[in-house]
């Protein structure tokens, strides 16, 4: 049994306040892979401190949409603003052109991302994973980064695993390191793409517990997940995606209780 996560954000000096009330504003986002249209005009606004859970059938574009928010994917139409700044593109003579690599990297600093398959740096220890970006990207002093890193790891229940390599950790432990790694950058927004779907059932709880605590502490989060219990308890809004579009959205009680669309009903009956 792990100690329940508590006051996680205190180790990075408290909640990094988003500059804007609208942390994410996606407007009519369109994306295709070659001829395949994957996002067909997705619009979503996420406010400060909100937790939005995205659900939907496989291939509906959930992962792609979340990846567009930190410009891991280019978009072919629409705009995405994070904290009031357009992501990935700038306006030049009325047209959108992709921003420079350096600017994109700068924008990503304040957006934390947690991947389905953890993607921890294999050649670095848990602590090494957590302190890498603060030192390299933010120019933090090594001592300071180590202090913050150890504190973060302790608060996600991994104080004793700081010197372990990813291959020596269980999936649940790896994912908690990945969350600590993202938090070390003091992000104002956290993106989670099915953070528990690669985990064995007995490890899902420990990861959800950390995410629940983050939500309690006021972190703005977008979570792709089919963990209904988590969504019901933590989400401010649930968004149902289908075929590259947002079919409907609403508070969990409403969306799970009285879904407006047949397809939502059909989808929910499959996963509940």
């Amino acid at each position: 049994m792990i100690a329940p996560a508590q006051n996680i954000l205190s180790s990075i000096g408290g909640l990094p306040e988003p500059a804007n009330d609208e942390v994410v504003q996606a407007i009519d986002v369109r994306k295709n892979f070659g001829r395949l249209e994957v996002l067909k005009g997705v619009s979503l606004t996420v406010r400060r401190g909100e937790v939005v859970v995205i659900i939907g059938p496989s291939g509906s574009g959930k992962t792609t949409f979340v990846r567009c928010i930190n410009h891991l994917e280019k978009i072919q139409g629409g705009r995405i603003f994070v904290n009031g700044h357009m992501i990935g593109y700038r306006e030049a003579r009325g047209r959108l052109v992709e921003d420079s690599g350096r600017n994109i990297a700068r924008q990503r600093r304040e957006i934390g991302m947690v991947f389905q398959r953890f993607n921890l740096f294999h050649h670095k220890t848990a602590l090494g994973n957590v302190i890498e970006a603060p030192i390299q990207v933010l120019g933090m002093k090594r001592n300071e980064a180590v202090g913050v890193g150890r504190d973060l790891l302790a608060r996600v229940g991994l104080a004793s695993k700081a010197d372990a390599y990813p291959a020596q950790l269980s999936g649940g432990q790896q994912q908690r390191v990945a969350i600590a790694r993202a938090l070390a950058m003091k992000p104002r927004l956290m993106l989670f793409d099915e953070p528990t779907s690669a985990l064995d059932p007995e490890m899902i709880g420990e990861v959800l517990e950390v995410m629940r605590e983050l939500a309690r502490e006021g972190m703005t989060m977008i979570v792709v997940s089919h963990e209904m219990g988590f969504a019901r308890e933590v989400a401010d809004r649930v968004v149902m995606m289908d075929d590259g579009q947002i079919l409907e959205e609403g508070p969990p009680a409403q969306l799970f209780g009285q879904p407006a669309h047949k397809r939502t009903q059909a989808f929910l009956s499959k996963i509940l």
């Binding site: 991947f115 294999h122 050649h123 890498e132 291959a167 990945a178």
Partner: protein, 260 residues
């Protein structure tokens, strides 16, 4: 058959100053050409994977030419060919305490440029072996291309690059013999000079073969050390009973055992 044993032992164990100089030149040429070739190869590998199409095409053409023509032809082309064509003539460079002759510069350049093409492919394959998720995680943390290459991708690619790099250096030690054609007095040319004075071809080529064998053997030993040391941190981590091994290991090996 007459094998002059005393002559053989003499040249094997009491090499002349010129011979030792040749040996030194062989080692220095190999080390410098391999180092320059590796650095150039790294840039060529990155260029080969660039998003800029013209850059990619230029690097591909370069690799195609360097791997598709004999090294011997490249050496003669760069030293003699360029000079004959009135394009470029290598001049001796004086560094004060020593002089680097033009043919040594040309030989070094040819060996390095040729090696770069092979290293480019090796490094490219090494980079491609690193899981793309590593790059994405680094990007999502705000790392620039340079940072993620230097800190995340290349250190992991090194695992795949180091064994073939060792083999390349073994080949390099022997390929340096080719610069003898432009008059660089490395080990082979020194031997040839000696044979034309003594006509003891059999003995002297036995000696030079043993010298190369010694060099490559020493290198083989060093290489094994490097690989053992290098693989340590990652190998240790992978061997440790982690999540993957405990679950997949039991499932796979358990199934295999029950079948047997």
């Amino acid at each position: 058959m007459s094998f002059d044993w005393p002559f053989f032992w003499h040249y094997l164990f009491r090499p002349s100053g010129a011979y030792l100089h040749g040996l030194m030149l062989t080692v220095v040429l190999s080390v410098v050409a391999q180092s320059l070739g590796t650095i150039l190869g790294l840039f060529a590998a990155l260029g080969r994977m660039s998003r800029l199409t013209p850059l990619r095409l230029v690097v591909r053409a370069y690799i195609w030419i360097m791997r598709g023509t004999p090294l011997l032809v490249q050496i003669v082309f760069i030293y003699t060919g360029l000079a004959a064509g009135g394009i470029f003539r290598f001049q001796d460079i004086s560094l004060g305490f020593m002089t680097i002759p033009g043919n040594v510069q040309a030989g070094l350049l040819a060996l390095s440029l040729n090696e770069a093409a092979y290293m480019a492919e090796i490094i490219r394959a090494g980079i491609a072996s690193v899981d793309h998720g590593q790059t994405e995680a680094a990007k999502s943390l705000g790392m620039t291309y340079g940072q993620l290459m230097r800190r995340i991708v290349l250190p992991q690619a090194a695992r795949f690059v180091i064994p073939p790099l060792g083999n390349e250096f073994n080949a390099m030690l022997k390929n340096t013999t080719l610069v003898s054609v432009i008059g660089v007095p490395e080990l082979l040319l020194t031997t040839e000079t000696l044979t034309s004075a003594t006509f003891r071809v059999f003995e002297l080529y036995s000696v030079v073969a043993l010298y190369y064998l010694t060099l490559t053997t020493i290198w083989g030993w060093v290489q094994a050390r490097i690989e053992a040391k290098f693989g340590q941190s990652t190998a240790q981590a992978e061997v440790a009973p982690g999540f993957g091994e405990r679950f997949f290991g039991r499932a796979i090996f358990g199934a295999a055992r029950s079948k047997a």
